[in-house]
Amino acid sequence: MPKPILEIQNIHKRFGQQYVLNGINLDVYEKEVVTIIGSSGSGKTTLLRCLNLLNEPDDGHIFFMGSDLMDPKTNLEALRMHIGMVFQSFNLFNQKTVLDNCILAPIKLLKLSKEEAIDRAMTFLKKVGMQDFAHQQASRLSGGQKQRVAIARALCMNPTIMLFDEPTSALDPEMVGEVLQVMKNLANEGMTMVIVTHEMAFAKEVSDRVVFMDQGVIAEMGKPEEILVNPKEERTRSFLKRYTTS
Amino acid sequence: MKKVLFFVVMLVGAVALASCSSNEQFDLDVETEFVVGLEAAYAPFNWSTSVENEFSVPLAGQLGVFVDGYDVVVSSMIADELGLDLVIKAIDWDGLIPALLSGEIDMIIAGMSPTAERAETVAFSDEYFRSEQVMVVSTGGAYAHATSLADFNGARVVAQLGTLQDDLIDQITGVNHLDPLDTYALLATAVAQNAADAFIAELPVAQGMVATNSNLTIIRFTGENGFTVSDEDVIVSVALRQEDVNLLAAVNEALAGISTDTRNQIMAEALERQDNAS
């Protein structure tokens, strides 16, 4: 069994007096696609944001590429360059063009030359189907277009792992498909991905593993067929009932 | 023997004191210029003008701004006598003495009266102009024909902040003593706009004002009808730092050379040059 890329060991997180993460243990292996599902308040978004330490757990360990993110001595910024994140509200740099969004970090952080960065950006923009919009101001795009650019922007850093925080929840229904397609392609190319989503059909199709969270713990975890079709836990079942698609 | 000893001690003491003070005081032999401070807003003693003439002096640090007036002419005469260059700075009335004490200026020649209170912190030269205190009222007003202080019973009278004129107001029985104002221009406006009935000023200043504002009239008092004033209330002197003993002596010597007739003539000419109404 190869060593996992990401080892989450017994992390807890409190907001005020409330425990949002109550002892989470999870390993993520290379090329794996892990989907996290659960109701709001289950802690799934908090968990995802802990993986690149946007939220800081109160205790526990998160080992990534051999370093513990929780260790004060770890260079967080350097590690974050290997973790790509896609947000529910896209968070594109609105005043910049699509291209500028993608080349900013590679130039400043990876020290690429402008030509190299543009080359790389165009490659990834092509991959998400947004190459024709390279010189458009980011704020002018539709939701689906913005999200695809956000994915390209994260990919331009050549990350080892990509995190997706409900990437389609803020999109109008007709745009969800184009984003999911990009994500499917990524998965097929072997990118390691951790996705928080409500799109059950997508999760079933693309995941290697599904994690169901409830009240700050992992209630159930396993292959998509097991969890999504025939869950063991009662609470998993009642959660899924709300998402029954015909 | 005792007498000799006493004399020697005194001599040593005097030399020590003299050398002490001459280390600090304005050294006439070394300095090439002296700085005069005035308001530049107290015609006909001192005012600002943009037009250069044979009497005006440029204002330090301000291009294109000149000062003119009785004080400016006297300053120039003193400069000639002392053989020093003249520098004039414009400073608000309340800031004049602090500026003198801090060394920013060396003399105040600003139509300032040598009151006992001021004499506690600064030294004053002999007088360089003597006049009388009068009141200025509105030409068409109730007090235009007043002849004595008693006539101003119940009147609203005002003066400039920090001047002896403000103290003189209380000599009027039953007066309504208004809060003092910052400048003479404001006093004139107050009376012209009926915010006050009268203000107190020195005669030349009043003459200057009336020349430019026909709606103002001077009330002069004869004999016992006017203010009870001491000498220091009707003369103006040059103010210097108390340690500048030598400079004071030199200034007094220069002033002694300006006769009373000359002084009156200078004042009359200054009144002419002031921005007069047609």
Partner: protein
């Protein structure tokens, strides 16, 4: 050739105004230039200094990773910034001018003139006001912008400089423009320390003819022209900002 050779009589308001404008045009022009100088330097200088102040104010202490020294320095920086802003916003500029000018005068520095003192005071004063403007500008930038920057690997400082601050400044421009207009008028108080601004120029122009109302009427007109022209420019800025915001939500 002057229209009026001598001062018109007291009851001729308009003629007096023409006379004053003509005879003392040098004073008024000089006064306007100094007022403009004070306002421009004050607003520009205040803007630059306020950036430093705001950055001090918004540094966050990383309880886990900062050394004791870093944490203390950050806290001191924050404390200084808050105190500075409170003091300079909480006292009138005229009081600040008195303290600075007369406080430093005794040092007998040859370059400490009323004008230099005035420039320093208006700059320090404006800094405090613009710092607050920029701080709310920063708070107005969506938190997601910083999160995206940090998730790419930028430090908090890089994220601030590259992404958040430019947006915050852009959003603050109309308010900064307003600060300039405020300065045009408020620098009049610097006349008390002897700065030859428009207010003092007017005082000087009326110092021997005592036509105070007419003189300051002229000053009022000039101030009005200055503020009106600047307001127009700020209005244009406002419109451009609004248009930009609308695009963002397309």
């Amino acid at each position: 050739m002057m229209v009026f050779a001598t001062l018109p009589p007291k009851d001729e308001f308009l003629n007096t105004i023409f006379y004053l404008v003509e005879r003392y045009s040098g004073f008024f022009i000089r006064g306007v230039l100094i007022t403009l100088l004070l306002s421009v330097v004050g607003t520009l200088g205040g803007f630059i200094l306020s950036l430093f102040l705001t950055l001090l104010r918004t540094t966050e202490v990383d309880h886990r990773r900062d050394t004791w020294l870093t944490r203390t320095l950050k806290r001191l920086g924050r404390g200084f910034s808050v105190t500075y802003i409170t003091v300079f916003r909480g006292t009138p500029m005229i009081v600040q001018a008195m303290i600075f000018y007369y406080g430093i005068s005794p040092l007998r520095l040859s370059w400490w003139t009323p004008l230099i003192a005035g420039l320093v005071v208006v700059t320090l004063n404006t800094t405090a006001y613009i710092a607050e403007v920029i701080r709310s500008g920063i708070n107005g930038v969506d938190k997601g912008q910083m999160e995206a920057a940090r998730s790419l690997g930028f430090s908090r400082r890089e994220g601030m400089f590259l992404i958040v601050l430019p947006q915050a400044i852009k959003n603050s421009l109309p308010a900064i423009g307003n600060e300039f207009i405020v300065n045009l008028k408020d620098t009049a108080v610097l006349s008390v320390i002897g700065v030859f601004d428009l207010f003092r120029a007017t005082q000087s122009a009326t110092s021997s003819n005592f036509r105070v109302v007419e003189g300051f009427f002229i000053a009022a007109i000039i101030y009005l022209i200055l503020t009106f022209m600047t307001s127009k420019v700020v209005q244009r800025l406002d419109v451009a900002m609004e248009a930009g915001k609308e695009n963002a939500h397309a």
